[in-house]
Symmetry: C2
């Protein structure tokens, strides 16, 4: 049962923003499915990835990078902390700031998460040749990180 069989062609809505939304829905569903066995969601995976990256990000920088409200980062970090995957550490340079770092177990879970995410991406972008995937990545990067922001 395809979309076409349901009576709507694939070119009914041609807005690039709609295609972005639908592609994201497809990719997000695949990522969520892949991450579920690790006890992670798409958003908590993203936070864990930043914490495991070694840059010792503040919650504020995580929020702006992921386009989340700072208050959302609080509860995401709370969740990851309850799972024993990240810790809040004080920033020596600014006592208001807490940096989020992955625990040893957090780094291990992150390693496995990277693997399953790679699998989900291979699945979602299977129709694209490697150079097309790189092209898509490059174009998306420019939309995702606009010059002014």
């Amino acid at each position: 049962m395809t979309d076409v069989a349901q009576g709507l062609g694939e070119d009914t809505l041609t807005d690039i923003n709609f295609l972005l939304a639908r592609a994201n829905a497809v990719a997000g569903a695949a990522s969520a499915r892949a991450l579920a066995p690790l006890g992670l969601r798409v958003r908590s995976y993203a936070v864990l990835a930043l914490a495991a990256g070694g840059s010792r990000p503040s919650q504020r920088s995580i929020a702006s990078y992921l386009r989340l409200d700072p208050s959302q980062v609080v509860s995401l970090v709370d969740g990851l902390q309850d799972q024993g995957l990240v810790l809040r550490e004080p920033d020596p340079g600014d006592r208001r700031t807490k940096v989020v770092v992955a625990t040893r177990r957090g780094r291990e879970v992150h390693r496995r998460a990277v693997e399953v995410i790679r699998g989900a991406e291979d699945e979602v972008h299977a129709d694209l040749a490697p150079d097309e995937r790189a092209q898509l990545s490059s174009l998306l990067h420019r939309v995702a990180f606009p010059a002014g922001e």
Copy 2:
């Protein structure tokens, strides 16, 4: 205040699915801002666009095209109907099915919505040359409508 200034480079998370999610967040925010004055949200705009397209889609086909649950389409159509923008009409060939069609006013609002959406897209994709936009559109289309689905 840029992301980079916040301490995280633009290459911390390189997953293409993450770029898709962030690009979609950027684009969705712009679309939502543009549609708000017309009393539409991104999702109700999509339903209105299908209803105004002349293909007389069933609620079921709208759901699969937009990757929504059929029950979500019910409330979206309810909302558009309350606004006087669409009507449910019986399908002569199948009495279970209701097709969704735009009213005259719905078609008028849709026309204006197409304009403001175009403006939002020009804003979001301003950094891309026309051929790059077409390329992005084509690549996204293949991800958004995978072969099997």
